[in-house]
């Protein structure tokens, strides 16, 4: 779960990381009021959960409350990478001397948190990693001990930060790590961390991604979820315990298992089809869950054909077949469907579906070919 900049920065502040004074607004008039209160220049920053806000004109500087109001009006009309801007953060503007990158994430290879810092802040860290890998410094954190003070200090030293800022930088690194660790984040990032003309260090922009599996430990964070920022179909899938990702194609996929679901999409794409979604119904999916999954797939108007790929494993295929038939009864919209069933009693399962006039296939490739053919027919109709 991704948090907005304003939410992330608020959480940083609660862990002792200094942030600019600022407030969130939803209308240009509110922006003007906030700018007046902050007294002076402000930054007006769109709050959407995608990257590229700057390039899209979603972050602007205003010299006066009037200008802030005007800019906010424009920004609140924007749509950035498909997402309409609903909120803006109005921050006191800072005179920036230096921009630094500081982030914490989990290192999959080491199995530990890693703090990453770079004197080249303000741009994507991946860009720095590609162009100036020598400008990135890292410290791995023992998950049983947490960040040690000396590590934060060593980062400052390794970045060749002027010595008078080591103390404050270390405090910010510790605050950032505390945020990451205490909230079960998978990413906590300050970019840029700026040094202002007054020699103050500030988290000018912030980003937090939370570990969904650990959200149960932080019920207060669940309230920060911005439902507007999530596709309704993905939200509904989550409610049913389904893993669903909408894509741009026209072939709906329903598969049990994430790896198999990806492989199914790959086969369809490889054979010239266009998958409309990733959908993993998980293990032991019952008729009710299958029905929900079908509804979600069909809520995408682009879907012209569907393929079910169920590897029964221990589950009996005749039960799966009956579940599919029951589920389909509840569905109104009719599109082509081919089902591939493998596992215990697979012949019986296929016979049940065949008797209900459903197409079945025995191999993945065969099923993919059938659904692709059907999707092209549907499209050409």
């Amino acid at each position: 779960m991704k948090l907005h900049e304003y939410q992330s920065k608020q959480l940083f502040a609660e862990h002792g990381v200094p942030i600019p004074r600022g407030e969130v607004a939803e209308t240009p008039a509110q922006v003007r009021a906030i700018a007046e209160q902050l007294g002076g220049s402000v930054a007006v920053k769109s709050q959407v959960l995608v990257g590229g806000r700057g390039k899209a004109g979603g972050i602007r500087l205003a010299k006066s409350p009037e200008e802030a109001e005007q800019l906010a009006a424009a920004i609140l009309e924007l749509e950035i990478n498909g997402l309409p801007v609903r909120k803006v953060l109005v921050d006191e503007a800072s005179e920036i001397v230096t921009e630094i990158y500081l982030g914490v994430t989990n290192d999959r290879t080491q199995g530990t948190p890693v703090i990453i810092a770079s004197a080249e802040g303000g741009i994507e860290i991946e860009e720095v990693a590609r162009d100036h890998p020598e400008k990135i410094v890292r410290a791995w954190v023992d998950p049983l001990i947490g960040l040690r003070d000396y590590q934060a200090r060593n980062l400052a030293a390794a970045m060749e930060l002027p010595r008078q800022h080591w103390g404050e930088f270390s405090r910010m690194a510790r605050g950032l790590f505390d945020t990451y660790w205490s909230l079960d984040a998978t990413l906590a990032e300050i970019n840029p961390l700026v040094i202002t003309r007054e020699e103050k260090l500030l988290a000018l922009d912030g980003k937090i991604v939370l570990d969904d599996n650990a959200l149960y430990r932080h019920p207060e964070l669940e309230e920060l979820r911005d439902l507007d920022e999530e596709a309704p179909s993905e939200r509904e899938a989550r409610g049913h315990g389904l893993s669903y990702v909408k894509l741009d194609g026209n072939i709906g996929c329903l598969v049990n298992g994430a790896g198999l679901a990806m492989a199914t999409m790959d086969v369809i794409k490889g054979l010239g089809g266009e998958p409309a979604n990733f959908l993993d119904i998980g293990g032991g999916a019952d008729a009710e869950k299958v029905a929900a999954a079908i509804q979600i797939i069909l809520s995408d108007p682009d879907v012209h054909a569907m393929m079910f790929n169920i590897f029964g494993g221990i589950t009996r295929c005749d039960e799966v077949a009956r579940g599919i038939l029951m589920a389909l009864e509840e569905v109104s919209r009719e599109v082509y469907l081919v089902t591939r069933l493998v596992g215990t009693n697979e012949e019986l399962g296929r016979r049940i579906l065949a008797e209900a006039k459903m197409d079945t296939a025995s191999s993945l490739v065969e099923a993919a070919e059938m659904v692709i053919a059907a999707s092209k027919v549907s499209v050409s109709e």
């Binding site: 999959r108 199995g111 599996n213 650990a214 298992g257 994430a258 198999l260 492989a263 993945l364």
Partner: protein, 287 residues
């Protein structure tokens, strides 16, 4: 021969009185696995599965009474970190964690601790292990594969079954199948298992099933290139996955331009691995 588990493996089931634990314990026994004990705190003294398997309150007691040397966990995600610590502290040398949805922070702690204590962990969020004809520890269906000389290692569940089934249809048997799990931070990795297969005299070739996310496949490619003599066939799921979207598994996500299927396939190919176009194409590449 096989790796990690065989006929002698004495299996403890943590969380045996839960729905999943009980069902799969029964499936394991039917397969011939030596299931010797279960643990559910507060249910010590019970007997389950037609009175054949004793349940203990603590792993320590289960080990003392039954000499289990492997534990498989069907414990809910919220309690599974503690259960893994308990298994490690009681002296279980091989811990297989089936549970999915384990918080990453918990896994970082567990992995650090188990590494340091010398306990081998497989998983979490994995289907477990299967040595055909000898023992299955986890949830891999037993009837879709037969004994043989192909080692299988995979980050996935049903996709692994798909591959096992494709091998079976062509008459190719398996030495051991290891599901290492789809989480970003887990115990045993590809490289560990590849090393074991390389050292196992009865494994003649290896099938490695990866997916998008992370860089484990790239490191495996390096290992294959530098240290493996046996042929390896690979498959990478997720070529059609868009960046930034998590494909079901917590670990299956293309982030900031890394973890892409194309890069993994290229790395494997340059290490001499034959990479299949789709799962059903794997058997042909083994001959």
């Amino acid at each position: 021969m096989s790796i990690l588990i065989d006929k002698q493996t004495r299996v403890l089931v943590q969380g045996i009185t839960g729905r999943e634990g009980l069902f799969h314990a029964s499936q394991m026994m039917d397969y011939g696995t030596q299931v010797v004990a279960g643990v559910t705190p507060g249910k010590g003294g019970d007997w389950v599965l037609e009175g054949k398997i004793p349940v203990f309150d603590t792993v320590e007691r289960a080990l003392a009474a039954t000499g289990a040397n492997c534990s498989v966990l069907f414990v809910p995600a919220r309690f599974v970190m503690d259960a893994m610590f308990e298994a490690a502290d009681a002296g279980v040398p091989l811990v297989i964690c089936i549970t999915e949805g384990v918080p990453i922070q918990d896994m970082m702690k567990v992995r650090r601790y188990l590494d340091q204590e010398g306990v081998r962990l497989v998983g979490p969020n994995c289907p477990g292990l299967l040595t055909p004809g000898e023992s299955k520890v986890g949830i891999i269906p037993g009837h879709i594969t037969d004994p043989g000389s192909i080692g299988v290692v995979s980050r996935s569940g049903t996709l692994t079954y798909e591959v096992l089934y494709a091998l079976q249809l062509r008459g190719l048997g398996v030495s051991t199948c290891v599901g290492i799990g789809g989480d970003p931070i887990n115990g045993t990795g590809f490289t560990d298992v590849l090393q074991m297969f390389e050292d196992d005299p009865h494994t003649e070739a290896v099938v490695m099933i990866g997916e998008i996310g992370g860089s484990e496949e790239e490191r495996a490619a390096e290992f294959i290139s530098s240290s493996m003599t046996k042929p390896v066939v690979g498959f990478i799921a997720g070529r059609s996955a868009p960046p930034g979207k998590r494909m079901g598994h917590a670990g299956a996500i293309i982030e900031a331009g890394s973890g892409m299927a194309a890069d993994k396939i290229a790395a494997l190919q340059s290490a001499g691995v034959r990479v299949a176009e789709h799962p059903e194409a794997i058997p042909a590449l083994l001959s």
